[in-house]
């Protein structure tokens, strides 16, 4: 389960929605050990951008040694990546983070916005019954990838897809129930899910995001507050890149 720092080769790149790109990398060293909910660091070729961009794994194919990343162009770094074509090489490190832990029982998989991609690999790994709830601002993406694997419920801000509102509105609207929640998305969504899960005593694994530097737990840039004193940091902070990005609802203080 080591971390590899290697040159990966781009084998596919396509825009799948406005500013949303899907890039497939040939990176067998990383694909071997990777699991759902983990991420990899991508390094820019431009000398003015030194920090890696952490991007979650959308699909992992151990047989072909390929990783699929679905990411949003938010700055110059991700814009640079979106220009890579099949055959281009890119420096990467990973797999990083703990990833999700598939648990027995009926699963409710919730993704919001650019938090949706990592849930695809999770759905591919989950053994039992899976219900998927996806929340979009307006434009949908990856919907076929999910619907081919499980029952999918939609929410969108403009109401064009499924319930008008958030994933929580969809859960209530459709009366979605389950034994375990797995979620990734914007902080307000994660807060709502945390409250919902704690109240109902449902196990919930939440994947968090924060600006990162090292990606291996050394620099302490990407911490979140923890309810208990963390064994490693010895303060009420957990390292998202190393102890996370996936935490149980009861572990973290998202206020």
């Amino acid at each position: 389960m080591g971390i590899s720092y290697v040159q990966a080769m781009v084998v596919r790149q396509e825009a799948i929605a406005t500013d949303i790109f899907s890039m497939e990398l040939q990176a067998p060293e990383l694909a071997q050990d990777a699991k759902a909910g983990q991420f990899i660091n991508l390094y820019s070729k431009d000398g003015s951008r030194l920090l890696p961009r952490p991007i979650s794994l959308c699909q992992i194919d151990r047989n072909t040694g390929r990783l699929r990343l679905v990411y949003r162009v938010v700055g110059k770094g991700t814009f640079e990546f979106s220009g890579y074509q099949s055959g281009d090489r890119i420096q990467v490190a990973g797999p990083l983070g703990n990833g999700f832990t598939p648990l027995p029982g009926k699963a409710v998989v919730i993704g919001g916005g650019i938090g949706i991609p990592p849930m695809l690999q999770l759905v591919r790994e989950l053994p039992g019954e899976v219900q998927v709830v996806l929340g979009y601002r307006n434009e949908v993406f990856l919907e076929e990838d999910f619907s081919s694997l499980a029952k999918v419920y939609y929410a969108s801000e403009d109401g064009k897809h499924g319930v008008k509102g958030t994933v929580m509105d969809a859960i209530r609207e459709y009366g979605i129930q389950g034994d375990v929640i797995y979620a990734c998305g914007p902080m307000p969504m994660l807060r709502a899910i945390q409250a919902y899960a704690l109240e109902r005593k449902i196990k919930a694994q939440l994947s968090l995001e924060e600006r990162m530097a090292c990606g291996v737990g050394a620099c302490l840039a990407c911490v979140c507050r923890s309810k208990e004193r963390d064994a490693h940091t010895n303060v009420n902070n957990k390292r998202i890149c190393k102890d996370g990005p996936v935490f149980y609802a009861e572990e973290v203080d998202l206020t």
Binding site: G47, L50, V223, C224, T233
Partner: protein
Amino acid sequence: MNMSVRIAGVTWKNPVTVASGTFGSGEEYSGLLDLDQLGAVTTKGVANIPWAGNPTPRIAETYGGMMNAIGLQNSGIDVFVKRDIPFLKQYDTKIVVNVCGKTVSDYVEVVERLGEEPVDMLEINVSCPNVKEGGIAFGQDPKALSQITKEVKRVAKQPIIMKLSPNVTDITQMAKAAEEAGADALSLINTLTGMKIDVHKRIFAVANKTGGLSGPAIKPIAVRMVYQAAKAVKIPIIGMGGIMTGEDAVEFIMAGATAVAVGTATFHDPMAAVRIVNEIKAYMEQYGIQDISELKGCV
């Protein structure tokens, strides 16, 4: 060919360590590179008690560099002594422990605790720009710097490296103050105080508003200060500030540094520190340098 250097009586197998705070306790990177290949490992700053650090976001990328405002989060000396020192003792490298505090007595307490521990050198961080009390306050005033250096030296069992702030008008004044107060060596430079504003969100890029600027962007300032300090004092200098390659390291040594520390580069290349050791070796071979000391201050 000899790459080993002697700093305040301690011999490193090569002149390369890591900059405090960029390498954790060494454990975090031990799976990515061989710590045995480093001259020394400089640990993340440790205080007498655990610190929670600053709110997030704690970092921001800048043009050719980065800003950080971690706020010296650390697990405290008890855990450090129990967990981190034993881990590092497994490796054949020197251990430099970076010490931080809010008051002089905080520093003194940690230095006393470490006196009984198997560590080789102590680096006193009097230049952190990201904490309200302590830190840089000691590093921008020669009198305060002199006082804390004396207090620390009074109880220290290991050689003391004072890590200086570049946010001063005259680095030589600070270097001399530390030397006269008994410092055994100097580390410079710490980060430069910077600020970044997100013009779209209209907020500061790091929650602390200001952060410490590091990376190759500021290397010329670091090289200049190492050159000036090396001319002003006799004690050895560990040079740092934007070292990305072996040639960058050689540049600091030519400016007068005895050793160097690799910091931000590790975030761009996890193996940077060891790569740089090999690149220095390659440079020495290319120019037929028998002993690394031939390069010191040779410009």
